[in-house]
């Protein structure tokens, strides 16, 4: 590789790194810190034992339900995610921990209530603002407390646009609802089905009740069938939000109602039918969640952990740097430069990835970075040892540097593949803190290979091509080799170089 191309490698790397940090500084980014580093409430929930197999859809719906509740709690940047069977909830800076625990651990509540009155989204349009509850718009309301099943309540009707996406809460209608007529516990199943009709096929959601539910359902629909307008609707309420309020069909006879323990809700689309079925199932099969972990971390402790982690990393870096300089002198100093750039790249990427993909840095993540200092140092060491081998084998300094790179890079790739595999498997299959650790470890492995192929290669190559640096005792390029070997290796090299220089002067 020519001197120019080596310089290009270094420049490309430095410009890329500069660009990354320029972006970070310009956009004023800082790393997204995990709860263990900034304080807050963190919980992992598991489905309680003895509930049989719980399917993915129900777990996803449970996550959605918890998310709704947390939104109502008003937490700034909540993070709710499912990992396998585990639901991870991260709530930074929550003041009322008891409320948080009660709310995220609660079982979903499914209720069927009669619609008494429809209220517009904006209470300003409302003449009757008798109750304070009725006065609040949906985005002002808190849906956290469980309303009395025997009382009238005002709840919000989920508003969706033509594509089925949720509208902003301030555009949701509110419904005044009667007491609970049928509870989710009496619903045994819900399925989305495609029903043949005279005018083609229609999606619908089929409901099935147990005997108690069937009787209650027949009674309420019999009553509703005698009414017209909004009051003919039966609201399906999950966790204090009215999912839908379908009217009782016109062909249902007044006083008779829908019998047989089954009912049908017409849907506008397949998605619509499936969504309702999942909502109903999640509420009907009340999945019990157990807290796998529940942690509250005070901001002081988070801050201290962060400081400790950073300090440990810094000290680790310095110790490794000292060792490398002791072992390799000038070449070691170059390795220290590589380590510093490694640190800058990994840290920069952690910050940028926080912005791009929402990656949060946790204590375990910091540990991953610290462990990876060893990986980064190893690349430098493999290269330098290889270089010494090549010099011992009689190569000139310059060709030794190039040959050593080829061989060392191959080794680096092989070793890093194993580390990277480990990180990916850990990331995909593990829960909780393990993921943060695996992520930074995998990231560091990639950065290590990248840095090695560009900056390390370029820098070492250029140093080996610079006669003054090659001969400078402090660089240590000639150390670590026996005198005979050196004499043999350098005699030729020196002569050639001296000759070259003379030519240059002429």
């Amino acid at each position: 590789m020519s001197q120019g191309r080596l310089t290009t490698l270094i420049v490309v790397f430095l410009v890329t790194l500069g660009g990354l940090w320029g972006y970070i500084v310009a956009a004023d980014l800082s790393p997204r810190l995990g709860l263990d580093l900034q304080g807050g409430v963190s919980a992992n929930l598991l489905p309680a034992e003895g509930q049989g197999e719980i399917d993915e859809e129900i777990l996803d719906q449970t996550v959605a339900t918890i998310r709704e509740r947390v939104d109502a709690l008003g937490v700034a940047e909540p993070d709710i995610a499912r990992q396998g069977d585990t639901i991870q909830v991260q709530l930074p800076g929550v003041a009322d921990q008891e409320q948080a625990r009660e709310i995220i651990g609660r079982t979903a509540q499914l209720q069927f209530r009669q619609v008494v009155e429809e209220l517009p989204p904006d209470p300003g349009l409302l003449s009757d603002t008798a109750s304070e509850l009725a006065g609040a718009t949906c985005d002002e309301r808190s849906d956290l407390s469980i309303p009395d099943p025997d009382e009238e309540v005002v709840l919000c009707l989920r508003g969706t646009d033509a594509d089925g996406n949720d509208l902003p809460r301030d555009q949701w209608f509110r419904l005044r609802l009667g007491p609970v007529e049928v509870s989710g516990a009496d619903l045994t199943d819900a399925q989305a089905v495609l029903q043949p009709q005279t005018l083609g096929e229609v999606w619908q959601t089929n409901l099935e009740f147990n005997s108690e539910g069937a009787a209650a359902f027949a009674e309420i629909t019999g009553n509703l069938a005698c009414l017209q307008g909004p009051q003919r609707q039966l609201a399906i309420v999950l966790d204090n939000i009215v999912e839908q309020a379908p009217p009782v069909a016109q062909d249902v006879a007044c006083g008779v109602g829908i019998g047989g323990g089954t009912a049908v809700v017409q849907a506008t689309s397949e998605d619509d039918a499936r969504d309702l079925a999942i909502v109903l199932k999640a509420g009907a099969l009340p999945i019990q969640l157990d807290f796998g972990t529940f942690q509250t971390i005070s901001p002081t402790l988070g801050r201290d952990s962060l400081d400790a982690g950073l300090l440990a990393g810094l000290i680790g870096l310095v110790l490794v740097a000292v060792y490398l300089v002791l072992l390799y002198r000038g070449m070691g100093a170059a390795a220290v430069l590589e380590l510093i750039l490694f640190g800058a790249t990994v840290f920069g990427l952690i910050i940028a990835l926080g912005e791009w993909i929402g990656f949060t840095l946790t204590l375990a993540g910091i540990a991953g970075v610290i462990v990876s200092i060893g990986i980064a140092a190893d690349s430098s060491i493999i290269y330098r040892e290889r270089y010494r081998d090549e010099v011992r084998a009689g190569r000139t300094i310059r060709t030794a540097a190039d040959h050593a790179f080829d061989k060392a890079f191959r080794t680096n790739l092989t070793g890093n593949t194993v580390s990277f595999l480990a990180a990916v498997v850990l990331y995909l299959l593990a829960v909780g803190p393990v993921r943060g650790f695996a992520f930074t470890l995998g990231l560091s492995t990639l950065v290590d290979t990248l840095l090695f192929a560009t900056f390390t290669r370029g820098l070492f190559g250029l140093v080996a091509r610079n006669p003054k640096l090659v001969d400078a005792p402090l660089m240590g390029l000639r150390s670590g080799v026996t005198s005979e070997q050196l004499a043999a290796a350098t005699a030729g090299g020196r002569r050639r170089r001296k000759g070259g220089r003379k030519k240059g002067r002429k």
């Binding site: 901001p299 201290d304 440990a312």
Partner: protein
């Protein structure tokens, strides 16, 4: 390290023939190691190492059988309270008293940070759905005037974490065996996995022996050790493969001798890499252990510290000799070995 020695190496007079002989005479084994002239017969003395390894493994297994592992509350369920920045004075006995008022009798209370902090761990406090531990935290806060962080772990959590770790382990091992088999050969995959099993056993054995607490961080660390141990082994194998590729049917050296030379050549790297890997981990261990609450850091660091050390020596002492043993079962290399032995006799 032998810095003075290497300093001499780079001095300009090193090209002076007169100084050469003198220096050769005084070279210590360490200096020989650092200058790549180490010639320890690692493969040849593998029998001796086998005995050492067998003894170490025996102790590990015995420790596991007799003492068992000491699992943290993450596995057994329980609560831990970390008190920080107390503004009122208190004693461990006073805190214990408060806990007893809640019916908690077997708590472990430690006062840290010159009396301004405390760490308390208790077995599972009643029902985890209850609010008890938050009430306990509030009571401690009232008593100390500081901030209390609470961790409550359900009894099933450890099971879930361990289950996932085991699944991850199996997938990882399959992937790695496949990778090494394709990149190198199956004998190296076998040697690497045996080495790996050794590393994990010795690490866990040490945990049993000393009675260190096994936490989920330990599990993470052990998974990392697997990666690290393999990484180290693969680097050694890479070198052996490269050197052995020059072996032909008319060579006068055996596979074992080639492997031994390769091992000696990568010895500095192995030692240096271990040192540079262990230094940051040691820093993590010291800082984590001395800093209140950074238990994740110190747990992780401790297991890594042990595992990395074990992983380094095993990649040299176990992986390579095992590979040579497997290799020389192959008629082609067995013949080479015979010829090499005959030649040197």
């Amino acid at each position: 390290m032998s810095n003075d020695k290497t300093n001499v190496d780079t001095a300009p007079e090193e090209f002076d023939a007169a100084t050469t002989g003198r220096r050769e005479d005084t070279d210590s084994p360490l200096a020989r190691l650092l200058t790549g002239r180490s010639n320890a017969d690692i493969v040849g003395s593998s029998r001796r190492w086998l005995i050492v390894t067998a003894v170490v493994l025996g102790i590990s297994l015995a420790a596991l059988a007799v003492r068992g592992l000491n699992f943290s509350i993450e596995f057994t369920g329980g609560s831990s309270f970390v008190e920080e920045g107390a503004t009122q004075t208190f004693t461990a006995a006073e805190l214990e008293e408060t806990l007893v008022e809640f019916g908690i009798t077997d708590a472990i209370v430690q006062i840290v940070d010159d009396g301004t902090g405390a760490q308390i761990s208790t077995p599972a406090i009643s029902d985890i759905e209850g609010v008890d531990d938050l009430e306990v935290a509030a009571a401690i806060e009232e008593q100390t005037g500081g901030d209390v962080s609470v961790s409550t772990i359900g009894p099933r959590w450890g099971e879930a974490v361990t289950g996932q770790a085991i699944r991850g382990l199996i997938v990882f091992l399959l992937l790695v065996i496949t990778y090494i088999t394709f990149r190198f050969e199956w004998r190296m995959a076998v040697s690497a996995v045996v080495t790996l099993a050794h590393d994990v056993l010795v690490t866990i054995g040490l945990y049993a022996l000393v009675g260190f607490t096994v936490s989920p961080s330990t599990v993470i660390a052990i998974l990392t050790i697997l990666g690290y141990s393999l990484y180290d082994t693969v680097v050694v194998f890479d070198r052996i493969t490269e050197d052995a590729s020059k072996l032909t049917s008319v060579s006068t050296v055996s596979y074992g001798e080639v492997a031994n030379t390769a091992l000696n050549q990568v010895l500095v790297r192995s030692v240096s890499t271990s040192i540079t890997s262990v230094l940051p981990v040691a820093s993590l261990l010291v800082i984590g252990a001395n800093l209140l609450g950074a238990a994740t850091l110190s747990d992780l660091a401790l297991a890594l510290f042990i595992g990395m050390t074990v992983g380094t020596y095993s990649s040299i002492i176990i992986a390579a000799p095992l590979l040579v043993w497997l290799k020389e079962k192959d008629p082609k290399f067995a013949e080479l070995k015979e010829r090499a032995a005959a030649g040197s006799a």
